[in-house]
């Protein structure tokens, strides 16, 4: 019977086929592995689960992971918007090169990025050498994690905002100017609302990517328990200690927390889109 409901006459061909493939694909790639993870963790039972998870070290790792990811996502939202703006609105020598540079964090193995950043920001590195006398320690602190996550998440905001900025007619800005709006007013009241949905998407992607990031972080973080240890690393540590149940428990909690956050952001996005009339 459900088949009948789904099968509405439509000009677009292949609805049944493509939806079938989509569901099978998503199940195979996302749902089944995640369900296996949850099932594995369920073997612990409720009390075993909470015992494995509610330890100070695990909670601290969660705080570090979510805190640094959020910070990196926000930094990328601000500066990624700026980069996208410059790339869309101005022509300058080297425009193409800058445009290509933006994608580099996607292509680079994250471990390479981690090693490079650590070398730069360590006390004896170029940047670290300048910052440390000022009392600012970056490498081997949560600050270093933020730096690594910002690097990794940069392309997301730029690449989601860029096309939307391109579509935004210059006429809207001209209209605002003729109506008496200053530059800041034009940005805050005309441009920002128009690109907000795209900016939120970019932020979400950068944030989600940062939550799962492992390779670049472990080099620069220093991995001090309670201070600069991230959740993915903690899971690896548990695995190395053959504590599979503990690892899956932490993984499941991570999964739930990430899913809840992403869902919330998605709803927020939907709300802004509806409010702004698409």
């Amino acid at each position: 019977m459900t088949g009948l409901v789904l099968k509405r006459p439509s000009i677009l061909p292949g609805f049944g086929l493509t939806l079938g493939i989509t569901i099978a694909y998503l199940s195979l790639v996302v749902l089944i592995p995640l369900a296996a993870l949850a099932a594995n963790a369920a073997g612990l039972g409720w009390s075993g689960f909470w015992n494995a998870v509610l330890t100070p070290r695990v909670l601290a790792a969660f705080r570090v992971t979510f805190g640094t990811s959020l910070a990196a996502g926000l930094i990328n939202a601000v500066f990624g918007l700026l980069v996208a703006w410059v790339l869309v609105r101005y022509e300058f020598p080297g425009h193409r090169i800058v445009d290509a540079l933006v994608d580099l964090p996607f292509a680079l193995p994250t471990a390479v990025a981690g090693i490079a950043l650590t070398a730069l920001y360590a006390g004896n590195g170029w940047i670290g050498g300048l910052l440390e006398p000022m009392g600012l320690k970056v490498a081997f602190t949560p600050l270093g994690i933020v730096v690594a996550l910002t690097f990794v998440g940069l392309p997301f905001v730029v690449r989601t905002v860029q096309p939307v900025l391109q579509d935004l007619e210059a006429e809207q800005e001209e209209a605002a100017a003729v109506l008496g709006a200053g530059r800041l007013q034009t940005f805050l009241r005309v441009i920002l609302p128009a690109i907000l949905p795209a900016l939120l998407t970019g932020f979400t992607l950068a944030f989600a990517r940062a939550l799962g990031e492992y390779g670049s972080v472990i080099f620069i973080a220093g991995n001090l328990p309670m201070v600069s240890e991230i959740v993915p690393l903690l899971i690896i540590i548990k695995l190395e200690q053959f504590d599979y149940a503990g690892a899956t428990a932490i993984g499941t909690l991570m999964l739930m927390a990430s899913f809840a956050l992403l869902l919330a952001i998605n709803l927020l996005q939907r709300w802004t889109r509806a409010r702004h009339g698409g």
Binding site: E171, A175, V178, L179, A181, R275
Partner: protein, 377 residues
Amino acid sequence: MTIDIQGISKRFGTYAALQDINLRVGAGELVALLGPSGSGKTTLLRIIAGLETADSGTVLFEGEETLNRHPRDRRVGFVFQHYALFRHMTVFNNVAFGLQVRPRGQRPPKAEIAERVHRLLKLVQLDWLADRYPNQLSGGQRQRVALARALAIEPRVLLLDEPFGALDAKVRKELRRWLRHLHEEMGITSVFVTHDQEEALELADRVVVMSQGRIEQVGTPGTVYRTPSTGFVYEFLGDVNRVECRVESGQVLLEAGGTPLGGAADHAGPAILYVRPHDIELLPPDERLGAATVRLVHEVGPVTRAEVEYAGTLFEVVLPEGGRVPAQGELVRLSIRRGMLFPRERDPGEPPRPFLPFRSGGPTPAVNLGPHTAGMG
């Protein structure tokens, strides 16, 4: 408020968009900048608004230099061709925008803003749509919102860039009439850009015909239509036959020869004759005067047009309503009642020569036109 445009020039790279434009728009006047695309009309409008800078020349508002002022300080209402409404704002907020962004000291209180916005929306007959978003409106409604938004800042000058260009024919006509009324009511000095001659002639107090960055002619709609000062204006305003000809001893002849079409004073040599299709009459053929052949007859709504070939030249003719419609291939005689002659080589600014029609359609005394005459009248 008067607008004085003095010696404005503008280049885009090597392309001269505007060349030494001088124009004065009187207080409360409604002026149309009319021209084909690329004639510089929109560039001129944008320079008046301050959205574009001029390479040289000045623009004075009420005698006061304005070019160095930022557009936001000019108090100009600008209506864009594609509306440029703020998509994420309701109609109300679009219209209120110009008031809301004012510095705190000059900003009217909230209640007053609301009242003014509603008054403007009533003026454009869209009060009931205040809470909608622009993409929920039709094209004509959007354009009226754009107009209300422009009027909200109480502009000293209203500038409209192809205001009806993106609308369909029926809505365009309605809005045109409505805008004319609005202008009469409010009396704001207004300039609008259009490539539609009908729109310019119907709406404007004065029409500025532009071509290739220059002003071809300025005048009331009647003047530019009836006495175009250049061939370009003749061609741009309404349908016209452009006939290559030469003048010999006061007679206008086609290049291929044939009987003279009419007479001309003080000119000899090659010239171009402009004749409107409805200024040509078809008469029964006369062997002594040479015959023309009807090549094509087609009806377009109320008018019937014919293409008539005479000595290798095609003439477009509008047949009088209710008259006899000739058949394809029929032999007829052309009689040109009115036209204008532009000598091939003439100094800019030199006036065209009037075309002198032969009184009854031929150089010889009136001929007996035979039984067809009554029908062709």
